[in-house]
């Protein structure tokens, strides 16, 4: 098996829905422990890009590698790769018929075929990591959006993934709930979890990202460490976008906890 210094490598991804082009040649790589944050205007293919990585959306062209193994065109092995790439969704997508703890353990039992006792322990441990152990026996409908999202992060964590893909994890939440989810994400990032995050939360991008990638017109147009955003000429478009953001959304551009 080919070894690779990158956890995830994405090469020249193209995707179109009919006539509508969504991605036109996007490439990047992620090293262990990095948090890459994708920002940019809506409709520039950021979410589609994440979904192309674990093949929830199949790209028209281009390749994705996990530890040097090709994820694209992997046939039924895709389920093996997906176990190793967690995903957190904008609308949580918790399993409505399962309590929080069973949401976290169901894939451990059915996909990883863990023993029930070990799976339960692991699930409770992950709920503790996101501060949700007291809510283990509650159903998704009984949780706030922020709580539900934290459970869904625990569900992703429980699989011990090599990387977690966050698809606008706070876009459905109000500012207070957003904060509790971002705190969990920041903790994961600090603990060395490898993360790819699509978000509109500039505070998170500035404070947690090892690299910020600004997407516009179906491409990555600017990229670099977040510390360069305020001054570097490579981030001219990003600054314009962020500035507009601050102007229209009050203080969310400077929120930085």
């Amino acid at each position: 098996m080919e070894s690779d210094e990158y956890i995830v490598r994405v090469e020249d991804i193209h995707k179109a829905y009919g006539d509508r082009e969504v991605l036109r040649g996007v490439s990047f790589s992620v090293r262990k422990g990095e948090t890459k944050v994708f920002i940019g205007p809506s409709g520039t293919g950021k979410s589609t890009l994440l979904r192309c990585i674990n093949q929830l959306t199949v790209p028209d062209q281009g390749r994705v590698f996990l530890h040097g193994e090709e994820v694209t065109n992997s046939g039924s092995r895709i389920n093996y790769f997906r176990q190793r790439m967690g995903m957190v969704f904008q609308n949580f997508y918790l399993f409505d018929h399962l309590t929080a703890v069973r949401n976290v353990e169901v894939a451990l039992l059915k996909v990883k075929r863990m023993e029930p006792k070990a799976a339960r322990e692991k699930a409770l441990y992950e709920l503790r990591q996101v501060g949700m152990e007291d809510w283990a026996d509650h159903y998704p409908a009984e949780l706030s959006g922020g709580q539900a999202q934290r459970v869904s992060i625990a569900r992703a964590l429980a699989m011990d993934p090599d990387v977690i893909l966050f698809d606008e994890p706070t876009s459905a939440l109000d500012p207070e709930l957003t904060r509790e989810v971002l705190e969990v994400m920041k903790k994961l990032s600090n603990e060395g979890m490898t993360m790819l995050v699509v978000t509109h939360e500039m505070g998170f991008a500035l404070s947690a990202a090892s690299e910020v990638l600004f997407m516009e017109h179906r491409l990555i147009v600017e990229r670099g460490p977040p510390s360069e955003i305020p001054t570097s000429p490579t981030f001219e478009r990003t600054r314009k976008f962020v500035g507009r953001f601050i102007e229209y959304s009050g203080d969310s551009g400077t929120k930085n906890d």
Partner: protein
């Protein structure tokens, strides 16, 4: 006025015997009818083009065929193709085919009501499509389909009496024989009516209990 001994010595023994046959027909047909309903509904919703179309045609065929005719075809018709069933087996097969087709429509409706995010999240965790259907989609859909399935089960209790038309001496058939022999139609059919009423009431209570027991906040309310 008919004496009490007519009920205990003449009427009840054959009715009890027939009642047991009725219960057997129902108890055998119901679980397989449910399994068949699940299979047809999943095939139609998640199967490929061919499977999906086959399931659709099956349901159209059963819906368009009176159950009595279906029983006649199975019991009287199939022997000319060399397929011979006992009356009891023919009746059970007919009931399963019918019950399964109608159940599948209730279950299909419930499957379509499950939000697509459930399948997406299951896939993202590395579940195969089959695992996702089995562990995530069906447990939700079946809960939502309980009222429909209950309804169909109650129909099954009552259309089990059609088995008499292919010579299965279940309770209605047994009653018909006794009633004609002793010219006691009113008494006999009243007793049989009470049997069905009792059975349907019991089933309604039990299924209502099951529905509440399996209810989940936000998914199916109590």
């Amino acid at each position: 006025m008919i004496e009490a001994s007519f009920f205990t010595e003449v009427l009840l023994p054959p009715l009890i015997k027939g009642g047991v046959i009725s219960l057997e027909l129902i108890a055998l047909a119901a679980p397989f009818g449910l399994l068949m309903g699940i299979a047809i509904a999943v095939g139609r919703t998640y199967g490929g083009r061919l499977v999906s179309q086959a399931c659709r045609l099956y349901v159209i065929f059963i819906k368009g065929c009176p159950l009595l005719l279906l029983l006649f075809i199975i019991y009287f018709g199939l022997p000319s193709l060399g397929i011979v069933f006992t009356p009891f087996v023919a009746a059970v097969i007919g009931f399963i085919l019918c019950n399964g087709a109608y159940n599948s429509e209730y279950i299909r409706g419930a499957l379509l009501s499950i939000k697509e995010g459930q399948m997406i999240a299951a896939s993202a965790l590395g579940m195969t499509r089959a695992q996702a259907i089995r562990h995530i989609i069906l447990p939700q859909a079946l809960r939502r389909a309980i009222p429909g399935i209950s309804n169909e089960f109650i129909y099954l209790i009552k259309y089990s009496s059609l088995a008499y038309m292919i010579t299965v001496i279940e309770i209605t058939g047994a009653g018909k024989l006794v009633a004609a022999k002793y010219f006691a139609f009113f008494e006999t059919f009243t007793v049989i009516g009470l049997f069905y009423l009792g059975l349907v009431s019991l089933a309604t209570l039990a299924l209502g209990f099951l529905e509440r027991k399996l209810a989940i906040p936000g998914l199916v309310s109590k």
